[in-house]
Symmetry: C2
Subunit: 306 residues, 2 copies
C-alpha cells in the first residue's frame, strides 16, 4: 500500500524538502510513497524548489485509511486532523517527543540534530541509496534553513558534515552564499498581509493544558519590520482571541545580530519574565542570542507553565 | 552526565540484555552509561546472564533528576514511576508508539522488527563499534527469546540476519539448540508461586481508557499447566479486582504447537469474540497460530475497545 510522506501543518522547508527526499528514498527501496503537504509553500521553500526544479508536493488534508510517514514533528496538533484514522508507519524528526501514538509497531528515526533532512541523509546511507543531485540540493537548503546557516544552537557537527556532503553531491561550491540568498528571500516581507507573516512559520503548543501559539520570522535585518510592528502586535492579539489561546508570541529573529525581538500577549504577564529572565515593555522584549524556537524559546516557557 | 539505560517494568530478556548491550555501546562512544533494571530477573534471563558471565544490572526504581535511555517500550505505565522528573535522552524499541513524551529533543531508534536487540546491533554498526563476544551472546539470546526462535510473526529478516551475525561473533555454532535450552528453562514452572508465574511477563495496557493486564507464559508443552490452570484462572480474577482492571488475560503459549490458550476474565465477555472471532468457554479459548502478544493479541483487542 502506498504511503504518504507528510510534514507538519504550515510546512517549512524541512517539512517539504524532507517529504520529497524521503518519498524518493522509500520508492527506491520498493516502498511506494508520495510526498504531500498540509499547507501552502513559504516564499523560502518556493525559492528552493524552483532553484532545483521541483514541483510542490500534492496538497492533501485528509489521510483516513492511508499509511502515513510523518516528517519533522511527533505532535497531534501539527498532524493531519484525521491522523487517528490513518496508520502511522514512521516518523522522522528532531524535536522533543510529542503526543502521537500508534496501535502498531512503526519506525522512528528521531535524533537531537538541527534538521530532519540530516536524519534523512542517515536513512539514505543506511539503505545504501544514492542521493540524486537535485534532491541533495533541496536537502542541503532545508538544513541551512533549520540551522540558520549553522548559527542556531540546535546545529550539530552532524548537520555541518551533512551539508558539506550534500553540497558536494549537488555540485554547489559556495553553500553559505546560497544560504544567504535563501534568507534574503525570507526577509522580503513588504506587500505581504500581516496575518500571512504571523502564520508563515507558526506552531501551537500545548503547555500544561494551555494553548500557546508561537510564530517566528527570520530576517537578515529587523528594520524590515519597522513600519508594520504595530500591525503585527495587533494581529497576534487578534489571534489570541480567535484561537482562545493563553499566550501568543511572535519572534522577530535577526540572524545577523543573532537575537530575537519577541512580541508577546498573554493571560499572564509574568510568564515571560519567569521563562526568560526579562520582562517585556509594551509587549516587546529583545532576547539576545535567541535564534531557536525549539531549543531556546519553548523549553523555558514550558517550565514556566509547569 | 551519566545516563541510566533501563528496560520496562517486569523486565524480560530483551530489556535486561538490551540495557547491558546499549550501556556498553554508549560507554564506548564516550557517553557514560550504567545499565539498570526495574524488577527481578526471570529464570530465562538469569540463565542467559549466567551462560555468558554477566551480573544482573543494578536494581534501581527512582530516576528523578537523572538522564535515562529507555529500552523496549515507550509507555508511561512501563516506565519508572518518577520518569516525569527524569530526562529521557533516548528510546530504543520495537513496539507501537506509546505515550511517553519529552520536553527536549532526544534520539529514538524504533523499528518494526522482532526485538530491541536487533536495533541495538544497528546502533553498534552505525557507530562502528565492535561487539564483544559475551555481549553478542546475550543480544543473540534476547532475539531468540523475543522471536520465539524465529517462529513469532514479529520476526523479520533483519532479526534472523542479526542472530546469524551475533552467533558468529559469539562463536556459537548451534544457536537454535541454545534457544531450545533457553525455552526449556522458561518452561519449568513447577514449584513457582502462581502469582509469580502470572507476573513473569506481564504488561498493563491503556485501551481506550480501560486498564487491561496481559501476561504471557511461553513453554514447549502446555501440559506443564495441567495441574495449576484453575489456580492461574483464580489468580488473574484476583488481579483484575486488586488492580481495578477492566480485563485480565494470561496467554499460555505453546511454542511447539504454535498457538496460545488464553485464560481471560473481563467486565465485557463479548470483547474476546469481537477481537479474535472466537468466544471463550469457561474463561478459556485456544487461539491457533497466536504467539505474539504485541502483534496478534494487543492490536485486535485495542480495535475491539475503540
Ligand atoms: Mn525541522
Ligand atoms: Mn522486546
Amino acid at each position: 500500500m502506498t504511503m504518504y510522506v507528510v510534514g507538519h501543518k504550515i510546512p517549512d522547508s524541512d517539512s517539504i524538502c524532507g517529504a520529497i527526499a524521503l518519498a524518493y528514498l522509500k520508492n527506491q527501496i520498493d516502498e511506494p510513497a508520495i510526498a504531500s503537504r498540509l499547507g501552502e509553500l513559504s516564499p523560502e521553500t518556493a525559492f528552493i524548489l524552483d532553484k532545483f526544479g521541483f514541483e510542490a508536493p500534492e496538497f492533501k488534508e485528509s489521510y483516513a485509511g492511508e499509511n502515513v510517514y510523518i516528517v519533522d514533528h511527533s505532535e497531534l496538533t501539527q498532524a493531519p486532523d484525521d491522523i487517528a484514522q490513518a496508520t502511522i508507519v514512521g516518523i522522522v524528526d528532531h524535536h522533543k517527543l510529542g503526543d502521537l501514538t500508534t496501535s502498531t509497531p512503526l519506525e522512528c528515526w528521531i535524533r537531537p540534530v538541527g534538521c530532519s533532512n540530516t536524519i534523512i541523509k542517515m536513512m539514505y546511507d543506511f539503505h545504501n541509496v544514492e542521493i540524486p543531485k537535485d534532491i541533495a540540493g533541496i536537502m542541503m537548503c532545508a538544513i541551512l534553513s533549520d540551522t540558520v546557516i549553522f548559527k542556531s544552537p540546535t546545529c550539530t557537527t552532524a548537520d555541518i558534515k551533512c551539508v558539506e556532503a550534500l553540497a558536494e553531491i549537488a555540485g554547489i561550491e559556495d553553500y553559505k552564499a546560497l544560504g544567504m540568498e535563501m534568507f534574503k528571500v525570507k526577509s522580503a516581507v513588504e506587500g505581504t498581509p500581516v496575518r500571512d507573516l504571523v502564520m508563515r512559520d507558526f506552531k501551537d503548543f500545548n503547555m500544561n493544558g494551555n494553548k500557546v501559539g508561537i510564530g517566528q520570522l527570520e530576517v537578515i535585518d529587523l528594520a524590515v519590520f519597522d513600519d508594520i510592528k504595530a500591525e503585527l502586535a495587533a494581529d497576534i492579539a487578534a489571534m489570541k482571541n480567535e484561537g482562545e489561546r493563553h499566550t501568543m508570541m511572535l519572534l522577530l529573529t535577526d540572524i545577523m545580530k543573532e537575537g530575537s525581538e519577541v512580541l508577546v500577549i498573554s493571560e499572564d504577564d509574568t510568564l515571560i519574565e519567569r521563562a526568560y529572565g526579562k520582562a517585556p515593555t509594551d509587549g516587546k522584549v529583545w532576547l539576545d542570542g535567541v535564534l531557536s524556537r525549539k531549543k531556546q524559546v519553548v523549553p523555558p516557557l514550558q517550565d514556566a507553565f509547569a
